[in-house]
Symmetry: C2
Subunit: 268 residues, 2 copies
DNA sequence: ACTTGACTCTCCCCTTGGGGCAGCATTTAT
DNA sequence: ATAAATGCTGCCCCAAGGGGAGAGTCAAGT
């Protein structure tokens, strides 16, 4: 029994194009090729081989690998090594895709939270903040350096991040150049590394104000919030916090005019 | 400040080749191109865009998708839809790879079992078989039809298969053409479908003989095993079993001379 | 001013696993 | 005998670049 390429294609569910390619690459050679017309004819043994090739393709082997395998081996027990290797490859891909999936999840989650409660209020507010687990990287420098801190945190704790980026300011007064800052992410879990400390960040009562717009103009909001605090004669605690509700994103830098930062000054 | 392509490549960790491609595809257009020399020069804004592109690439977006996104949007909140879609894609890939991984695992496992205990004995043996969960497809036909049954089972229960393929023979005597056969796989778990029944297959005491070689010659082994049974005056039960310790594989058909089949005839 | 070495340019071919089409030859069924 | 279906080769195309040839350009040292 012999089959023309069309029939063979239907039998094996391999496209005619693929069959011609496999012939050209000497992976699946028709049992007979008409010397004059070039017509390809396939037989039963070709069907078996085609099945093997299809399965190896499903298992993500490349045509080059498949060619090697079918030329050298004829039984599963002989290709255990290759199967184990391939499985490792696949596990790596799975791990990689899982990371991507988690990263995307985080972005979606944070953005959805923003959509849920569009912060329309610009008034000073008193509120209670809960204790949370954070990963923090403490540094001395300027505000503009915090990006590096967040980059470091994201690289090390990317998959455990659980909320919005924050900065903690440990100076009692405003410092331009040598500020004592800790960049933080809320995390689900994690261990200290050399540079990063993971710990509970105590909550408490705080005075909060939403600042909308570029960070460079945040001074005005600080003025407003301290005005309120002085009026009420509250005693402040350090560190104070800035929560980046909407800042430069994971993907886009975004438009600074739309940045939203929450200032939180904790009181006794 | 402007950067040559080499420096920009170092800054962004994108290869020069990629940068030229992105320019050609109008994804990342240098801030300045020398009209006479064709030299590309990049600026700070290009760095931001490059970062965005890199991240989208990591998230598995194609260049075409990236082009669309960066042309139309400038904030994460605007591409939530695309992110959700991409996440679905990635979940599909993960699911697919997991299936492959499980299939390969199964093959490796079964082959390793064969290596562990090379069945060297060809003598009739009495042994105890444990109860196991099986998925079975019952049919009437010839032995040569069982392949289809196994194909069906593998398709539906592939990821739950937990041992070697078996056939159960429900006829008391030998039948050539219209035999009542059930093809089975041991499975971890599973639910009945219209054609396939999942259930406990009771174990018990059986007389076993390993048959090595093509199935066509299994008659001799049956003769031997029934000789033994008659000699001992055992009462046999139905169904009897054939366990395909080594038969046509998942990948290769293999050489029938090396096939190993265990005949199990249960006794009271 | 010149040379040298490092950069950069365009162009072309290669990769994987085929898809699609043109133009022609052959086979099969009516 | 003729038409419809099938098959052939050859060419161009996709994504996302990699590699290299051959030529032009830039900056620094002499």
């Amino acid at each position: 029994m012999k089959y023309g390429i069309g029939e063979f294609s239907r039998i094996t569910s391999l496209s005619i194009k693929s069959l011609r390619l496999y012939h050209e690459k000497e992976i699946l050679i028709p049992s007979e090729v008409d010397q004059f017309t070039g017509y390809r004819y396939y037989n039963e043994r070709n069907i078996e081989l085609a099945r093997t090739i299809k399965i190896l393709k499903e298992y993500d082997f490349s045509l080059a690998e498949i060619k090697e395998i079918i030329n050298e081996f004829s039984d599963e027990s002989e290709i255990l090594e290759q199967l184990i290797e391939k499985k490792k490859d696949i596990e790596k891909k799975i791990a990689n895709y899982k990371n991507i999936s988690l990263s995307i999840d985080l972005i979606i989650k944070l953005e959805k939270e923003n959509k849920m409660k569009p912060e329309n209020e610009f008034e000073v507010e008193e509120k209670e903040i809960e204790t949370m687990l954070v990963a923090g990287y403490r540094m001395k420098g300027k505000y503009s350096d915090v990006g590096k801190g967040f980059g470091l945190l994201a690289k090390n704790f990317g998959r455990e991040i659980n909320g919005k980026a924050m900065s903690l300011y440990y100076d009692a007064e405003y410092k331009e150049n040598d500020a004592d800052i800790e960049t933080c992410f809320p995390v689900r879990k994690g261990k200290d590394t050399e540079e990063i400390s993971v710990r509970e960040l105590k909550g408490g009562k705080c005075i909060s104000l939403i600042h909308k717009g570029p960070y460079e103009q945040i001074g005005e909001s600080y003025k407003k919030i301290f005005g309120y605090i002085n009026e009420k004669s509250y005693k402040t605690l350090i560190p104070s916090r800035e929560v980046y509700i909407k800042g430069p994103g994971m993907i886009f830098k975004g438009n600074p005019k739309n940045y939203i930062t929450e200032i939180q000054i904790f009181i006794q």
